[in-house]
Symmetry: C2
Subunit: 218 residues, 2 copies
């Protein structure tokens, strides 16, 4: 019966995620997870090859919630600024309960060999899902973003999102309001910056930036 197996897996994952949230990454030892879940340590390892894989589980869940929250928040937002803010704020709303966990998460995630690494191969699916959120924000925008930028824009915005997430991890202000201000400040600037692409002298530079992005991505 596959259901029983899946049940144990979910139990371990749920206990781990709750402990991550409530007592943080370091205090959530594999032994503590196992004990709390009423299984042996080895059994937890049967379902998750490493503690990192439990972090990945959290990553996937947060991302699914972000996609759902973003889709809802995008409803009714027309211009790019509003849509970007919607998507970004939705992301940090979802991440809020895990703020204290963020530091350890990033330390894990930034390692090239980590399954959670957002640039790595192991998380291609997760990255695509995350990218799709930004593609959605850009493509549904009225007025539309400059045509020549539209292809690369979601990826660049996603990259900016990673940067803001890093800022958020370091943000010790209550409720991370400094991160919220950053979003509200930077998004209109991005939108205005993009509108500059029409100016001839500026457009050339934009083209070269895009060229560089393309050549470097390979």
């Amino acid at each position: 019966m596959a259901a029983k197996s899946e049940q144990t897996r979910r139990l371990v994952a749920d206990v781990a995620l709750r402990m991550f949230r409530e007592i943080g990454f370091e205090k959530t030892t594999m032994r503590a997870i196992a004990q709390e879940a009423g299984v042996s340590v080895g059994n937890a390892y049967y379902y998750f090859a490493s503690k990192d894989e439990l972090v990945q589980e959290l990553y996937l869940q947060v991302q699914a919630e972000h996609a759902a929250a973003a889709a809802e928040a995008l409803d009714g937002a027309k211009d790019l600024s509003a849509r970007l803010k919607a998507v970004l704020h939705a992301g940090f709303d979802v991440m809020e309960p895990y703020h204290q966990f963020g530091a350890d998460f990033i330390a894990t995630a930034i390692r090239p060999t980590s399954p959670v690494n957002p640039f790595g191969e192991d998380s291609t699916a997760a990255r695509e899902a995350s990218l799709a959120i930004f593609r959605d924000a850009v493509e549904g925008s009225v007025p539309a973003a400059p045509k020549k930028l539209r292809g690369e824009l979601p990826e660049l915005l996603w990259l900016a999102y990673m940067g803001i997430a890093l800022f958020w991890v370091y943000d010790k202000s209550e409720g991370q309001r400094r991160t919220r201000s950053l979003i509200d400040g930077v998004v209109p600037l991005i939108a205005r910056g993009l509108s500059l692409a029409k100016i001839p002298g500026v457009g050339k530079v934009f083209d070269d930036v895009l060229g560089l992005v393309r050549s470097v991505r390979g």
Copy 2:
């Protein structure tokens, strides 16, 4: 005799740094360092409170080398592009032997509590030294950078340097030539971008970016 104590400290640090370079972060265990240095584990801990502090030792050394190499490379470079390239390439020249180590270094350094965290308080001195390199590059530039940008520019360039360093860590191409291409591509774009600040419509956006940077830095 203070000399003997300092001698042990240097011995441990030198052995550790060499092992970091030669066999990487994980294989360089505290026990291995101690054994190779001919001291006990506890003795290594008497001088370095954690493995991270040995990483910090490496960080300081690499940075001192960077400052020296940059100063030399800046000699004779006049315009901002040339000076920036000089400084950046000098940095990665110095870091080259530690490339495989880079991933673990960044995972350590990105943790807000780490003594090596480039944004943290423990490394204010190190960050200032690193910033000074970029200040030097900007201030000695002929023609000079736009006046209104000159204050924040070194900090922004340093930030870009951190971003390129992250790219470098992931760069698996031989000799990290993709990172070198990125530098050669992005630097002229930065220089050209800055020259756009004179265009009225663009200048306003620049001003707002600077305002945001200032308001967020606190």
